[in-house]
Amino acid sequence: MPEHEAGGSLGTPTHEVRDFLRRRREQIAQRWADEPLFRTVFTVSRDEAVEAGKAVVDALAQVADAQRVEDPDAAGFSAVREQLARMGAARSRAGLSATQVASELAALRPPVENLLVADLDQASPEGLRECSTTLTVLMGTLRLVAMQTALSEVQALTDRQRLQLLEVATPVIKLWDGIVAVPLIGTLDSARSQVVMETLLNAVVEQHARFAILDITGVPTVDSLVAQHLMKTVAAARLMGAECVVSGIRPAIAQTIVHLGLDLGTVKTRASLADALGYCLHELGTNIVHTAPDGAGRR
């Protein structure tokens, strides 16, 4: 690529901006390193910030070279996407809102603009204006790329967390030989209740459980759909030879179920997990013997 001499004949504004970016790479990166966005992200050394700035300048020059200053999907940006994401994430962690990060990104433009004006003092006012507009558009696109990257990071995080929640919410606990329990927490939507049913039925097989306790202390609302999911789970467990006990029904929930008109008559219920365990132990023929106070410390 032939180098344009400073003050030489002006090419297209896009190529002029590209040549300016390549010519002033070092100075731009030096000035950016003092801006809050770079200064606060690259805290180890200033050189690190300057190197990161150079990478961004190179990307911008490549995009200008491809004549795609308005295209956030331009190939040139892909090299710095990861770096921009890291910078954005670091600023978000520091407690900045998306708007504040966006304005820090906007603050990168004036130093470059000033360099451009100083650089093209030989050019005609019209040529300078065109170059300045091109640079503004290019920096705007950079902002867009950075915000896009940040958003897709957030989206990926949300998706991961949703998956985690599915797993976290359904531990099956062995309470005794032949007795397993599932503490249900939060909303029992259809995806979650499917996971609950599967893990519970698997546990019934693996643990040779005769009793399965579904504890709904952590379920804030029991409406007809939740009740239906519970009854289906109970029916499925019964087919496999395990009896289900639903525990943790709080007074408010009990009254609501009655008003709603739900018939849980086919389901064995207990007020608390302890009651449910006591019932299951009794059914298994296991007796709990309270030892005398003087014998309490012997074990």
């Binding site: 029991v222 007809s224 709603l260």
Partner: protein, 146 residues
């Protein structure tokens, strides 16, 4: 005195996630207006049933919550509206055990029993609006100082 802020809301109902929002908002609004725990739970459950109807049968819609007063009593009014196919036979839809969507058939009738006032407006082909209102019932010995 409870304030309108935090009670008044227009929440979209377009997905399962929105149902969670609806329940949380109704619970907070009811608590703010002074509903007891049992009444809160009833209202939240009714809202859950009606919002799910809006989503499943109405193809999505809107819940509007508002603070209403009559004779010094505070109430919470919830309006669920959709522009779905409407309910062709309202009496049948309100009867227990009737379902058109594979559920238990307790949603609409159950919700009616969980609130104080209940009205349905449905035009076949152009949508359904269900308005429910519950009033804060205060113990009689509790007197407000003027």
């Amino acid at each position: 005195m409870p304030t309108a802020a935090g009670v008044e809301a227009r929440l979209p109902i377009r997905s399962d996630m929105d149902l969670v929002w609806v329940r949380q908002h109704v619970r907070q609004a009811a608590a703010q207006l002074g509903f007891g725990l049992v009444d809160q739970t009833k209202l939240v459950t009714a809202a859950s049933e009606l919002a799910r109807n809006t989503l499943v049968h109405g193809g999505g819609g809107l819940m509007e919550a508002s603070h209403v007063t009559t004779g010094g009593a505070d109430g919470l009014r919830l309006a669920f509206s959709d522009s779905g196919p409407g309910i062709p036979d309202l009496d049948r839809a309100l009867s227990d055990g009737y379902t058109s969507g594979g559920g238990l058939g307790m949603g609409l009738g159950g919700a009616r029993r969980l609130v104080h006032d209940f009205e349905v407006e449905s035009v076949p082909g152009s949508g359904t609006t269900v308005r429910v209102t519950s009033w804060v019932t205060r113990p009689p010995r509790q007197r407000e100082d003027v």
